[in-house]
């Protein structure tokens, strides 16, 4: 990065985009958490399961008891509310980031890209001066108020959005997505109940239209949002695209709303000024005199270094799949944290047998004894979860008196409308296999189907 660019990154710009972002993000998170709680998912996802698929290296992250878990969710909701109104902002952002991330780290089953996005944004918000205008903090201590912030504080959020969209777009440059219109071709016929458009859902061309539109949208929307002249129309597309996603795929949850809200960050300071001016007390707060207009970071050089490292990490993490052999969709090594959303239809059937090394027969495992239906579904197609489960089975059966438990999995997986076939080597004792970042040799190689079987 050149000196002039560094200088440009530090130039003061209006704080208002950051303020809107803080408010919208806070309220959205507040309602998301309430929704999660209201649907009873705190209990079904974090309390009922007896076993959790922890993240590698984060095995110490375990769910709390029923009451404590609900208290934790209350903490998340409250801190989100504090972020929204800008009360004890930095503490609230830290609490939100830590508690939300803790909850997400409990179980791989519920990994969603937008939860990862929320954790990242929450982390960024800790460092950003989003409470320095139109907040309870400023109302209580007016000397905190600033009207301008270094440009990079808004730039980093735009960069984060760009990462989400562009990597999601690149991920769609795949033969299944573009040439076979999968998984859209599989998913759309199940949407024939929709009025007006329902009857077109069986048509192949509609699946192609959805696929290509989605890819083009993801790849280019950021550039149109960045350009002042196209921004409004682009935001119209953001609304249409994400609301359509919410209608067609309600299972995607909060993701569309998060993107609709977060995309506001691309609008100019003047736009946000006008938007915020409709809010109560804004005008009186905005008219108060400021002691110092521009916010300055005390350690601006280390900050720039940290930002550079963050940017590099965001660019590299989604590319790590390149370090693994075979087809990403099949092995899923390097799949998470890479903005791959709604990319594939994958389902599996997993039959495990635990055997004592000396015994002739074994114990066929009843998965529902250990896993919830959601956990079982997710485990059946994801190798790292298969391995974690196999290790868990070895431990459980040892308790039941199997002295040297060997765990074998006969697992069948169907990917993007292809016929199911064996996923892992059934003769490998999974109890002996190590977890790690290396490629798992026991995953059977992905082979293109010999004949186009449908």
């Amino acid at each position: 990065m050149t000196v002039t660019k560094l200088h440009a990154a530090g130039r003061p710009v209006s704080i208002t985009p950051l303020v809107t972002f803080r408010i919208v993000f806070g309220w959205l998170m507040f309602f998301s958490i309430l929704r999660f709680w209201w649907r009873g998912w705190v209990t079904t996802v974090y309390i009922q399961p007896e076993f959790h698929f922890t993240y590698w290296g984060f095995e110490w992250v375990q769910p709390l008891g029923s009451i404590d878990m609900h208290v934790l969710f209350a903490c998340i909701a409250l801190s989100a509310l504090c972020i929204a109104i800008g009360l004890w902002y930095r503490v609230a952002a830290i609490v939100f980031f830590l508690s939300f991330t803790y909850v997400e780290l409990i179980d791989l089953t519920t990994y969603l890209n937008h939860y990862y996005f929320i954790s990242l944004v929450a982390f960024l918000l800790i460092w950003l001066p989003a409470n320095r205008h139109y907040s309870v903090d400023v109302w209580r201590r007016p000397q905190l108020r600033r009207t301008e912030v270094p440009a990079w504080t808004i730039g980093i959020l735009r960069f984060q959005m760009a990462v989400v969209y562009i990597f999601a777009g690149i991920a769609k440059l795949d033969a299944d997505w573009l040439l076979h219109a999968e998984p859209m071709r599989t998913w759309l016929p199940s949407k024939s109940h929709l009025p007006i458009i329902g009857k077109y859902m069986y048509a192949t061309w509609v699946a192609y239209l959805f696929s290509w539109f989605g890819a083009v949208y993801d790849l280019f929307i950021v550039f149109f949002l960045l350009n002042k002249r196209t921004r409004l129309v682009a935001y119209g597309f953001v609304l249409i695209f994400h609301i359509a996603t919410a209608i067609f795929f309600p299972g995607i949850g909060m993701f569309p709303y998060v993107m609709i809200a977060a995309s506001l960050i691309f609008f100019s300071g003047q736009f946000h000024e006008r938007l915020l001016s409709h809010l109560p007390f804004y005008k009186s707060m905005a008219q108060a005199p400021v002691k110092q207009s521009a916010y300055q970071f005390r350690w601006s050089r280390p900050m720039m270094l940290a930002v550079t490292l963050y940017v590099l990490a965001q660019l590299l993490i989604p590319m790590r799949f390149l370090a693994y052999p075979d087809r990403l969709f099949w092995t899923e090594e390097g799949y998470r944290f890479s903005w791959r959303v709604m990319l594939m239809e994958k389902s599996g059937a997993a039959y495990f047998t635990v055997k004592d090394s000396t015994a002739r027969y074994g114990y066929a495992v009843n998965n529902s004894e250990f896993l919830t239906p959601l956990q079982e579904k997710m485990m059946s197609t994801q190798p790292d979860m298969i391995l974690k489960y196999a290790h868990h089975l070895a431990r459980e059966y040892k308790k039941r008196g199997v002295q040297h438990p060997e765990v074998y999995g006969e697992i069948y997986v169907s990917l993007n409308g292809e016929r199911s076939r064996l996923f892992i080597d059934s003769s490998v004792n999974l109890a002996q296999q190590q977890q790690g970042w290396q490629h798992y040799n026991w995953i059977l190689p992905y082979k293109l189907p010999v004949t186009e079987q449908k």
């Binding site: 599989t186 024939s192 009025p195 007006i196 299972g251 100019s268 389902s347 027969y361 409308g417 199911s420």
Partner: protein, 362 residues
């Protein structure tokens, strides 16, 4: 910024949002007629409701009436003769249940029909305790599952010295227990059938989605569930699959009356019939509509392979677990292949969901 562009943009986007949102809300099939956008799915579901599920419950209801008559005849004069007559009626009724087992959603699931009337093995110790004390409660989910239903009748009416026990001093309690179990089965089935004949039919027929709780979702998930029960509790578990090869013959469905294999075959035959939608539109036609002809023919073929493998096991199944282990093992494998096809290929092709949880695409 151009103010006019600004207004047009916002108004246009808001309008699009409202229209799309309205569409999504209108999509919840409520049977108003306007929601029926998919003639095929509606026809298929109507076929399931009117030609398969409701007739199956009606048939079961009739068979239970005959069973009650035979049970009363047996209880009036317990003998090996009346017991033999009773066995025919009992078998007919239980076989009749296998035809509704796959419809375990909606009304059936609401009254916990399958759990209450067909959880096996029954627990004789708990049943005998109930008979002795004369106090028992059939309405406690899970806890009372194994002291009622067909498996309990199987034990009470057909275990080794069953006839003898009805002649004993405490026989009055035993007779009452049997009658209570029969009454309980009948009332649960009546209740379920009445709901199918009433409002639920419309709910079922107009639910065109594939998420959890939708009709198509329920049908396919229940296929997988039944196939799993065939592989596990009906065959695999008594066969020793969960117990390091140690056979627990008395854990199979219909152990005392000795027609376990018939029940298993009836169950799978019924599943095939469900899959085909009988003579009308079924999941098979849906797969063809989705251009999955090969998958459909493979599933149908595998149904036959699995059925033939089951039929090849000599009766009684409980004895074959030890005497014809190879044949049982073969049937187990074929059922698993069928289960795999349903759980992966068919579930994927039809895009059915198994939970309500948020999911950003596998």
């Amino acid at each position: 910024m151009n103010r006019k562009l600004f207004r047009t943009g916002i108004v246009g986007a808001a309008l699009a949002a409202v229209v799309l949102y309205a569409c999504s809300k209108g999509g919840d099939g409520d049977g108003s007629g306007a929601a029926n956008n998919d003639a095929f799915k509606t026809e298929m579901l109507t076929n399931y409701a009117d030609n398969i599920i409701t007739p199956a419950y009606t048939n079961l209801q009739a068979k239970l009436g005959l069973l009650e008559t035979s049970v009363n005849a047996f209880l009036a004069t317990p003998s090996t003769g009346t017991q033999a007559t009773l066995k025919t009626a009992f078998k007919d009724a239980w076989l009749g249940f296998e035809n509704v087992s796959a419809a375990y959603f909606g009304p059936g699931a609401a009254v916990l029909l399958n759990s209450y009337i067909n959880t096996w093995p029954a627990v004789p110790a708990k049943i005998e305790a109930g008979i002795q004390s004369g106090t028992y409660n059939f309405t406690i989910p899970v806890a009372s599952d194994s002291i009622q239903g067909f498996p309990t009748l199987d034990y009470l009416l057909f275990s080794a010295d069953a006839v003898q026990k009805f002649a004993d001093a405490g026989a009055a309690n035993r007779r009452k227990y049997v009658q209570d179990v029969v009454t309980r089965i009948k009332s649960l089935v009546d209740n379920t059938l009445n709901q199918w004949k009433g409002a639920y039919r419309t709910t079922f027929v107009s639910s065109l989605k594939t998420d959890v709780g939708s009709s198509i979702g329920a049908l396919i998930n229940q296929f997988a569930f039944e196939m799993d029960a065939l592989k596990g509790p009906r065959i695999g578990w008594p066969f020793g699959k969960q117990s390091n090869g140690i056979v627990f013959a008395d854990k199979c469905e219909g152990y005392y009356a000795g027609f376990s294999a018939d029940l298993a075959i009836a169950n799978l035959t019924s599943l095939k019939n469900y899959f085909k939608g009988g003579a009308g539109k079924g999941i098979d036609d849906y797969l063809i509509l989705l251009k999955k002809d090969k998958l459909n023919s493979d599933v149908l073929a595998q149904f036959d392979v699995a059925l033939n493998a089951l039929k090849a096991i000599p009766a009684p199944l409980s004895a074959s677990f030890t005497n014809n282990a190879t044949l049982v093992e073969a049937a187990y494998k074929e059922v698993q292949k069928l289960l795999t096809l349903i759980k992966t290929d068919v579930a994927s092709a039809t895009a059915v969901q198994i939970t309500y949880m948020d999911n950003d695409g596998d």
